[in-house]
Amino acid sequence: MSHLKLALLLVSNLALAAVPVGCSDKPAKPPPLKELLVKKVTADLSKAEPGAAYWRDAGGGEVTLIAQPMIAPRPEKVTTSSLLVQAVHDGKQVAFRLRWKDPERSEAGRLGEFSDALALEFPLADGPLPPVMMGAPGMPVHLFHWRAQYQRDKEKGKPAVADLYPNMSIDMYPLEFKGAKGGTEAEAEAFSPGRAAGNPQAYSKTGVDEIVAEGFSTSSVMEGHGSQAHGDWKDGEWSLVIVRPLAIEGGSTLKPGQKGNIAFAVWQGGQGEVGSRKSLTMVWTPVSVQ
């Protein structure tokens, strides 16, 4: 490239950069999120509504994510590098709106299909901050894990095998063949090990799982506290709201007028992300509740 061309290119780039944001059709690039201010609103937050009017003035900002770097298996490169975060509360519930780019909607189902997902992380108890990645023994973290797959469960019911494999052929299932008297639910579940063992994964989900963890490989689903979630995917972007109680007895608690901490993780199911294959924030983001 000649020096002249290079100079022209530099000038044109500078000129583009100098265009005031307000003159563009595109929304202003959100500021990096240094502290998440949870605004008090008077709206009803009992439902998760990504399109609600109160989000317009909710503030918030952008957090940067990187590919999970600590333990294998991990992604080779980051798939979700940026997440837009907003939060409001009504004195009882706190709602988080999260938006990120994802070129395809993925809900999992068949082997090798994984779900788009997002998790919010909070320190489970007061005291010294736990390590941001899954906590540590004696320093638990409290996670709210939404999956598009769980949302589909809630909206359409957990898919049957015939929903996932419409052309699949089977002679008969135990207790369900013609003339069979059937059996009790417990007898039927004996043929589905995950269900018989009571694994929450094998049952229909309500949209968001509450999870407790004390370090890598320790996360376990805990009894929920009425959290809600709803995500809309449109034009290559998820817009998701997770609503949780401000105060949870025996769990993470945010108090009006006080500070807290939050961290984030995002999975792009279409890119094969699941478990430790994810994008995440490497530091706690301070939270200030209005």
Partner: protein, 378 residues
């Protein structure tokens, strides 16, 4: 990363956890010269364990035709190709890398992920012959045959160093101390599929109905009662025996599995170069292509076949082969005396007694009393 002893490779290998051998190690020996791919084992397993929803195409035990068959499709070719060169030294030590050693920094185990469709043809390639076109016929009078195939029955190998266990980020997979059986904790698994990717033998399978992964459980409820697994006791060809294998430094000559693997060295692990110390052992087929067998069973396969051909001259070994399939119970000890092979349980109680050579009765072709021709149809 720990260094652990892998006797099948004659060296230490890398593994994410320390060496921790179980008190007993579940193992099956298969005589591939006897398998006829009747799939009775497959059905015995399927009706016992995988008849439920989401298990429609799930076969913890399968029998595939080698070299062309594979469930899932081309599982062996695809991992071998990924692993690259697999050379053995002159003393039988493995010079290449294992799956754990060859893993990129972002993974725990070198793997390939089979697609959903790869599992949908469990008996693909059945009876397909290798070696040359068979249009013009073939000669099978000499060994090995120039046109060949053989049947390979497969269960989970309940490896000493399981790749599935190494790969699970939730630590939902464990190896039982009492018998070495490897299980997926059905309460902890979240269906990430890491074990499905990582197991090179592809014996972890995903259940899309329960959304968790499942695998061969080694029929542990039977094993706990001293009974061999369903695939073993239902084998009509009597090609299998299940027992407990010791590492070579603790091998006992009167232990049936130790005897076949360590003493006579006629039963070999398959694809030992993957580095997992698998615990299903095969008496290799005498007629198949030696190059192929060396790739599958390692550098000792020629000696194993030579030893197998000499078995008739060894009443102890011949007696043990007669004990295979002769009792449902697990034999912890055996002996051959006065032309009889005898199997014992853990307490030393006799389980079974069989003649090493079957008695032969000769009868006249015509029965004068009944005025009828005798024949062998029962």
């Amino acid at each position: 990363m720990s260094k652990v002893k892998n006797w099948q490779l004659g060296r230490e290998v890398e593994y994410p956890y320390d060496e921790s051998r179980p008190k007993r190690q579940w193992a099956i020996v298969f005589d591939l010269n006897k398998c006829i791919a009747c799939q009775t084992c497959t059905l015995a397993c399927k009706t016992t364990w995988t008849s439920g929803k989401g298990q429609e195409y799930m076969f913890w035990n399968n029998v595939e035709t080698k070299p062309w068959g594979g469930y899932p499709l081309a599982w062996d070719l695809r991992i071998l190709e990924k692993l690259g060169r697999q050379d053995w030294g002159k003393n039988g030590e493995y010079l290449g890398k294992t799956l754990v050693e060859a893993a990129p920094p972002t993974e725990r185990v070198l793997h390939f992920a089979p697609s959903d469709e790869d599992w949908m043809y469990p008996n693909v390639g059945e009876d397909d012959c290798a070696g040359a076109p068979v249009d013009g016929g073939g000669h099978v009078q000499k060994l090995p045959h120039d046109k060949w195939m053989f049947y390979l029955p497969r269960t989970c190998a309940h490896c000493t160093y399981p790749a599935c266990l190494a790969a699970c980020p939730r630590k939902a997979i464990y190896k039982r101390e009492e018998d070495g059986i490897v299980l997926i904790d059905q309460t902890r698994c979240k269906g990430y599929g890491e074990c499905v990717r990582a197991c090179p033998y592809k014996k972890s399978m995903y259940n899309p109905y329960t959304r968790v992964s499942e695998k061969c459980v080694g029929c542990y409820p039977a094993v706990e009662e001293g009974i061999q697994p369903q695939c073993v006791v239902n084998c009509i060809g009597k090609i299998r025996v299940m027992g407990f294998i010791n590492p070579p430094w603790k091998a006992r000559d009167d232990n049936p599995v130790d005897y076949l693997v360590h003493k006579k060295k006629i039963a070999l692990p398959y694809y030992p170069q993957l580095g997992l110390e698998p615990n299903i052992y095969y008496i290799p087929p005498v007629h198949a292509d030696p190059e192929y067998l060396r790739q599958m069973f390692g550098p000792h396969v020629d000696e194993a076949i030579a030893a197998y051909k000499q078995l008739l001259e060894d009443p102890v070994a011949a007696g043990l082969l007669c004990l295979m399939g002769s009792t449902d119970r697990i034999m912890h000890r055996f002996e051959v005396q006065k032309g009889e092979a005898i199997g014992y349980d853990a307490a030393g109680t006799e389980l079974v007694r069989v003649p090493v050579t079957e008695h032969v009765y000769e009868r006249a072709a015509f029965d004068d009393k009944l005025g009828a021709v005798r024949h062998n149809t029962p």
